[in-house]
């Protein structure tokens, strides 16, 4: 009787809802992902290595990871500036710009892809003037970089914004009253408080850019070894029925994503442990 009673829960439906959750999660997410890893295990380490170390694969990974990191860094800096302007200053159009930050979240990637291409092509509104300066954006790695910046902006802004908003104004006043200059206050007091959020935003923007496909392929030019991103190479290998190659590249990218999620989770926990209880 007591043993049975101990397992009872006040609200009904735990067993049913948890069972459904786990089953549905398994069917849609876990089994398909496990299938990918199983497939990769069918490859011998040597095969796996040969695929990854081929020049085209290496270059594709380099383009994806390298440009994604560069774009995430730009987003970190520009995102911080945007957050600062949106949170700390009042100016006409502020709310509109605040809403606009989410456009890259909401705009389908294929639409973003064709739009950025049209904008930065040599005859485009921005591509024209840039071409006159000798800068070619569309159909070069710079184009990939631009697309990755586009899709990464909201990640930095939306992770840092709430933290800056919640930052207790008293800590700045305290720093000021202790004689710190404004610049010292920002560098020594505000920036460290934002650090976990900034790093999280950087990691999220990077993870998104690495895997990005739709907004990149139109503007990329897709020249093997130069402007070919890893997700595109997966698609190409699939269309050539070279499943092993596609799987191997996918596994590497997945593992990197999982490491990033893990790091972000740890970051969040660290950030939370630093918040004093109110």
């Amino acid at each position: 009787m007591s043993a049975l009673a101990a397992r009872r829960r006040t609200l009904p439906g735990f067993g049913l809802t948890m069972g459904l959750t786990l089953s549905w999660l398994s069917v849609i997410i876990l089994i398909p992902l496990a299938g990918l890893f199983l497939r990769s295990l069918e490859l011998s380490p040597e095969q796996f290595w040969n695929i990854l170390s081929s020049r085209r694969t290496l270059n594709a990974l380099r383009v994806s990871f390298g440009l994604a990191f560069a774009a995430a860094c730009v987003n970190l800096v520009m995102g911080s500036i945007i957050v600062w302007a949106l949170v700390r200053y009042r100016f006409p159009g502020r709310r509109l710009f605040d809403a606009i930050v989410d456009v890259p979240f909401a705009l389908p990637t294929a639409v973003a892809g064709v739009a950025l291409t049209a904008l930065f092509a040599e005859k485009g509104w921005l591509g024209g003037p840039l071409a006159a300066l000798g800068i070619k954006v569309a159909f070069t790695p710079v184009g990939i970089f631009v697309a990755m910046i586009f899709i990464g902006i909201p990640f930095v802004v939306r992770t840092v914004q709430p933290v800056l908003q919640d930052l207790d104004p008293e800590i700045e006043e305290a720093a000021g009253s202790l004689g710190a200059s404004r610049w010292q206050t920002i560098i020594r007091v505000i920036l460290p408080s934002l650090a976990p959020a900034l790093l999280t935003g950087l990691a999220l923007a990077f993870a998104r850019a690495v895997g990005e496909y739709g907004s990149v392929i139109f503007i990329a030019g897709n020249l093997p070894n130069i402007s070919e991103i890893a997700p595109l190479l997966i698609v190409i290998r699939l269309s050539e029925f070279r499943y092993a190659d596609a799987t191997a590249i996918a596994v590497v990218m997945l593992v990197v994503s999982f490491v990033i999620i893990f790091a972000v989770n740890r970051l969040q926990r660290w950030a939370q442990s630093r918040i004093p209880e109110r």
Binding site: M1, S2, A6, R8, T10, P12
Partner: protein, 345 residues
């Protein structure tokens, strides 16, 4: 409805919220569960309501096993500490909820439900708020609506978790009196949880004092105040002076000083002596059981409170009538009018 709780144990991880609790509640009683936070009083209340489940032990209502029933079947009215009113429903619909969710076979018709809700709102004197939403009410009003909602299902037992905890002092006092008279009117077996001794002593017929998952004492408000059963109860209820003493060879010592107090029947060893502040009577030096020097005197409402350094090392605070002449620096004798000694350090 009588309630019987036997040997109840409840753990949250390694924390023992209830550690073998036995309790009998008589029909029509108004019982207070009193204790500091973490003493297990709310857990006990929630287990009786069926909102938590014990790891071991039994709960029965009128002799029948209550643990065999879920919260839904127990017909227990529960008033939550933060009221848990349904935000999206009007006051009227909140009170009507319990009637509307009854199985179709026993559900009353709309007219009956309306009449019943009106009656309940009259009972809690808030019929004029029927169309408001909970967010538009004051704390005291929410509290009374929560009570009306709990009463709507004609509960066999009424349980209230810190019913006045979230209210300001003035409203709290009014509601206390009101709750007592309401209980008198409806006469349902009721248990309420509180950490406020004044509240427990003023409202309840019987008080259960709890600490660390155990019941320290059960008794009438007078009992627990006048004859505390344990050191904890003495320290928790009323303002007490607590002195560490040694009982040795028929002598009581405070530090190295023998006290002029009888040690008859006391077990030797480290013990604690408790005296109410106002039970320490001030006399000339050399009189009484203790001697000490007054450090400060402050007026404190109807009494004056003096800080006294006892010879023997401890510093205590005593309350004396305002007309007694006390001055800082004076040496005085102190005689406890009443005191209790509990064995153990």
């Amino acid at each position: 409805m009588t309630i019987e709780v036997k040997n109840l144990v409840k753990k949250f991880g390694s924390f023992k919220a209830l550690d073998g609790v036995d309790l009998k509640v008589d029909n029509g009683e108004l019982l207070a569960l009193l204790g500091p936070s973490g003493s297990g009083k709310t857990t006990l209340l929630r287990i009786i309501a069926g909102l938590d489940w014990p790891d071991a032990g039994d709960v029965s209502f009128n002799g029948e096993d209550a643990l065999a029933q879920g919260a839904r079947e127990r017909h227990v009215g529960f008033v939550f500490q933060h009221y848990a009113l349904f935000r999206h429903m009007t006051v009227f619909e909140n009170v009507a909820f319990g009637l509307r969710v009854q199985p179709r076979a026993v559900r009353k018709d709309e007219a009956t439900i309306r009449t019943r809700v009106k009656e309940l709102l009259d009972l809690v004197q808030l019929d004029w708020l029927a169309d408001r939403y909970p967010s538009q009410l004051s704390g005291g009003q929410r509290q009374r609506i929560a009570l009306a909602r709990a009463l709507a299902i004609e509960p066999r037992i009424l349980l209230l978790d810190e019913p006045f905890g979230a209210l300001d002092a003035k409203v709290r006092k009014e509601l206390r009196r009101w709750l007592r008279s309401l209980h008198h009117e409806i006469n349902v077996t009721s248990i309420f949880v509180t950490h406020d001794q004044e509240e427990a002593l003023e409202v309840a017929n019987r008080v259960v004092v709890m600490d660390k998952g155990r019941i320290e004492q059960i008794g009438s408000p007078d009992d627990v105040y006048e004859s505390p059963a344990t050191a904890f109860v003495h320290g928790f209820i009323g303002e007490s002076i607590e002195l560490p003493i040694q009982v040795e060879g028929g002598v009581i010592r405070l530090g190295d000083r023998p006290l002029r107090l009888a040690a008859d029947g006391l077990a030797p060893g480290a013990s604690k002596l408790f005296v109410r502040r106002h039970d320490m009577l001030v006399g000339p030096p050399g009189s009484g059981a203790f001697e000490g020097a007054i450090r400060h005197v402050r007026n404190f409402g109807p009494v004056q409170r003096a800080e006294v350094a006892l010879s023997g090392g401890e510093t205590i605070e005593i309350d004396a009538p305002r007309d007694k002449e006390l001055r800082a620096g004076d040496t005085i004798g102190l005689e406890p009018r009443r005191y209790r000694i509990f064995a153990g350090a």
